[in-house]
Amino acid sequence: MTTVLLLLLLAVGAYLVAVVEDWTVSGRFRLAAPVLAGIALLGRESIVPRKPDRIFFEVAPFLLLVSAILGAAVVPLTPDLIITDMATGALFINAALVYVLVALLMAGWGPDGAYAMIGGWRFLGQLIAYAMLIVMPITAVVMRAESLLTTQVVVSQAGVWNIIYQPLGFILFFIAAMALAFLPPFDLTTSKGELAGGVEAEYTGVRLAVFRLGRLALIITLAAATVIFYLGGWQGPLLPPWAWSTIKILAVTTIMLLAGRYMPRIREADLLAWCWMLGIPLALLNILLVGVLVLVFP
């Protein structure tokens, strides 16, 4: 029952994200736009390129969607509203979202097109940059919570939210989350100006619809993860827990979608260099600081 409810919520969330994304792109707030776009995609031809790796080509969009949904499975909206409260939840989000990489590699290799293939391999480089910056800040978060349970992580922020307790970790995680969701300015994989759409370029019709849906689910999952790790999850005054979760998730999503519009795309070489030469030392420093804080203010 909870599962069905949460999947429905995820779908509604994905829809809202689509509306927000349409707003950031077109500058107009149109509630119906995603529905129209979705129907239009379903009505159009779904082309298979001439020499695809058929299995990869077909599986990739679904793998993207599934991995995003699996990631969402351990995110609590309220103390009880969670699909499965795994004992290793904080790690599991990360494990599920690694398959985004696999999906993009498959989508890149599958259609046998130059743009798509380069887009796919680019994401592998991107993963090498951001992966550590997902895991290390989460480590600091679970150090404070003394548990990998996502619900426990939220409860641990009852006094002070992690965004104040470990701001450094928040910044790193937020940037890495945007890179994981390949949102601009990290959209090296699907870049329009450099690869004419990259991995998306060869997908049409229903397959493209699934791919886009997977991406929306991915964005919302990551926003939700940011909320439970750093923004105190469902906690907040006056309003009921579910309302707080919703508000926070939508706010984070909007910031994620908007940020990239005001800067050019990052260079892949810069991304790698900064993540490893600056990001990882900072993440280690963050772990150290949080360790000290946890000992000083138990």
Binding site: L36, I39, G43, R44, E58, A196, G205, Y262, M263, E268
Partner: protein, 706 residues
């Protein structure tokens, strides 16, 4: 009904879907948004949203008359679009090989809006139709041929195995020999790999391919293959047609094929002859290969006209410039190109490689025929860092979103590094004179339409040169007003470049801002321009503060000072080269040359931004804006020359007039020089950096002269 309707009986549900589709029209613009803006069209304002991949487009919007070679590319784009698709044409009726337009309108914003309305209703009604015909055009004809993945020189008409390495030959497309005009097949890929382009052209659902046997296979069980349609014995799904044999083919060595063929020995590459036969050394059958195919692969690391030297096959240290025999073993010396040895260090030319060659050739015993990777890859090109990834030849353009439209950049990519490139303009804008003698009025009009990205500058140039020939002068007021128009165009052009840059780097805010500013500037009068000044200043300030911008551009596309550079590109390297600085009218208006030192893309951005601001000041000083009108010069004879600083750099025009008619015209344009810079500029660069470097040159393919 629209010509690109999707097959299907229009049911109620389908009508609903079509209505939804009509309100969400992804548009692929031909030639590109830069041309749309110069015509003053605001595409997004009409509700069409622009997409960058033809696969995602449902509307193909053709703006204005486009040259035949671009029309062919446009036909490929049209074929790549998913059905239902419509062709929406503004202001031209020369479309072949594109099909007839579904909706036509004139070139203006009102007409565009009206056209979009028509388009929506046509789409809502005609998106589905029971019988649809395939779109076909000569450029889409493909022939299937088979080639070895390792030895691209092996090309056969039938499947089989490679005579060199024994691998199975794999299917690929080659263009039909007949029926194509100027361009090679692979260069036609508008923005998609050509492999995929023509599949769709023949209708992916009912794919019938020309000249290829069709077989039917199960989408889930690729091992199930039969000659006739039916259902899969394993899962019962309907079998789908495909060209035999096409399971998961990844083939990336594109080469041209209608080249002369020569025959060579797989083991002794030095044996080359024009006819089939057997090798005089080992008796193996000679195998055919394309002559230029090989050289095109080798040209990355060696020039073709290398001096030939002669060397002994057994004693590589013996090298001499003339044929003869080896002083050590008496064998005949064999010719080779001088650089060959260096670039193929591990290619079996030296002793170690030679030994392993022999090992393997004598290793025929036993059950396993091992294929040496060193041997089979020795003729393939090596990448700069010694770690080759897949080499792909990918076309970027002529409608690539991150490049000026009309520019075709064919990149040989090693992973995501550019290993080689070939840039050319697909717009054949060669002849300036339509007839042997042309009257001055139509000559001015011809130059006005010469480059749609800078019509005023070329119009001004034509007027100036005519006045020079005639020895006339215009009044100070007129001269100032002309400069006002030219500088206004410079601002608009630089804003257009900023929009391209923003599109390329995914900088949405900048794209939106500069697009609207360019549209406003294009026909603005003096008051409007003064009113727009704060907006420009805010924009430049904003760009100074933009995160990532500096790191994105600094050090990219580095150019040293060079006499071939023109315009802002030259001024970014510190050269104070500007035709305006010697122009009296400009100096009285207070012109100062803007320049930067570093010569990278960032410097070019800054030069252009500074020029925009300086142009604003010049327009204000000029105090009027007026398009250049040709002076009536009468029946003058003589020659004359004029230079004008167009937004892209100095353009120089030399004319001969006889009795008031233009008989010869020589035009030197900045983009012609810049086009030649591309190859060295982007070699060994990461793809994104390479595209940015090309973009930062601000090429106009329209003014490129072969």
């Amino acid at each position: 009904m629209i010509a690109g309707a999707r097959q299907g009986r229009p049911s109620a549900l389908r009508r609903l879907v079509a209505a939804a589709m009509a309100r969400d029209l992804g548009t692929f613009i031909i030639p590109g948004p830069d041309i749309a803006r110069t015509h003053g069209l605001d595409i997004e304002a009409t509700g069409l949203h622009r997409v960058t991949s033809p696969r995602h487009a449902s509307v193909l919007l053709v703006i204005g008359a486009i040259p035949p070679s671009l029309r062919e590319s446009a036909a490929v784009v049209y074929a790549q679009m998913a059905r239902p698709r419509v062709l929406f044409v503004l202001g031209t009726d020369k479309l072949f090989p594109l099909p007839a337009a579904d909706v036509m309108a004139d070139l203006s914003q009102q007409e565009l809006i009206k056209g979009v309305r028509q388009l929506r209703s046509a789409f809502a009604e005609g998106a589905f139709y029971p019988e649809v015909s395939d779109f076909d055009a000569p450029v889409l004809q493909v022939r299937i041929e088979y080639t070895c993945p390792m030895h691209p020189e092996i090309v056969r008409d039938e499947p089989g195995s490679c005579p060199i390495c024994g691998m199975n030959l794999v299917l690929r497309e080659a263009q039909a020999k007949a029926g194509h005009l100027h361009i090679d097949h692979q260069e036609m890929g508008a923005s998609m790999d050509m492999e995929t382009a023509s599949t769709h052209a023949h209708g992916s659902h009912h794919s019938i391919d020309h000249g290829a046997p069709v077989e039917y296979t199960c989408p889930m069980h690729p091992e199930v293959v039969q000659d006739e349609p039916g259902s899969c014995p394993k899962c019962g799904m309907d079998l789908e047609p495909r060209n035999a044999p096409a399971e998961s083919n990844h083939e990336h060595h594109h080469m041209t094929h209608d080249e002369p063929v020569e025959y060579t020995c797989p083991m002794h590459p030095e044996v080359v002859q024009d006819e089939p036969g057997s090798c005089p050394k080992c008796g193996m059958d000679l195998v055919p290969r394309d002559i230029p195919a090989e050289s095109s692969h080798e040209h990355h690391h060696m020039a073709h006209d290398e001096p030939v030297e002669y060397t002994c096959p057994m004693h590589p240290e013996v090298v001499q410039h003339e044929p003869g025999s080896c002083p050590k073993c008496g064998m005949d010396l064999e010719p080779r190109e001088t650089q060959n040895k260096q670039s193929h260090k591990h290619s079996g030319m030296d002793h170690n490689g030679m030994d392993s060659d022999m090992d393997h050739s004598s290793m025929d015993h036993g059950d396993m025929a091992f294929m040496s990777m060193i041997d089979v890859t020795k003729d393939l090109p090596r990448s700069g860092d010694g770690l080759p990834m897949e080499w792909i030849e990918a076309p970027f353009g002529p409608f690539f979103p991150g490049l000026p439209s009309g520019l075709l950049l064919t990149l040989t990519l090693d992973g995501d590094t550019v290993a080689g490139s070939n840039a050319r303009s697909l717009i054949e804008n060669g002849e300036l004179l339509q007839s042997s003698s042309m009257d001055t009025g139509s000559f001015v009009e011809r130059l006005t339409s010469f480059d749609p990205l800078a019509p005023v500058a070329y119009r001004y140039l034509a007027c100036r040169v005519l006045e020079n020939v005639a020895g006339m002068d215009v009044s100070a007021n007129t001269a100032n007003a002309r400069i006002g128009a030219l500088e206004r165009e410079r601002i608009a052009s630089h804003l257009g470049w900023l929009a391209l840059f923003a599109q390329q780097t995914g900088f949405d805010w900048l794209m939106r801002r500069t697009t609207s500013l360019q549209l406003k500037f294009q026909h603005a009068d003096l008051e409007q321009i003064v009113a727009l000044k704060p907006a420009i200043l805010t924009l430049t300030k904003r760009l100074q503060r933009t995160p990532l911008l500096k790191s994105r551009m600094a050090g990219i596309g580095l150019l040293a000072r060079d006499a071939t550079l023109r315009g802002p590109v030259a001024r970014a390297t510190g050269i104070g080269d500007d035709a305006r600085s010697t122009d009296k009218v400009y100096t009285t208006l207070g012109f100062k040359t803007v320049s930067r030192k570093t010569g990278d893309a960032l410097a070019r951005l800054h030069v252009r931004l500074d020029e925009i601001i300086h142009s604003l000041a010049l327009i204000e000083a000029a105090g009027a804006i007026e398009l250049p009108v040709p002076t009536i010069i009468g029946e003058v004879s003589g020659t004359g020359e004029a230079v004008v600083e167009t937004p892209r750099g100095v353009a120089r025009l030399r004319l001969t007039l006889e009795m008031g008619k233009v008989t010869t015209a020589q035009l030197d344009t900045p983009s012609t020089h810049h086009l030649a810079l591309i190859n060295p500029l982007i070699e060994q660069q990461e793809l994104g950096d390479a595209l940015l470097a090309v973009g930062s040159l601000d090429l106009s393919p329209w003014e490129v002269r072969q």
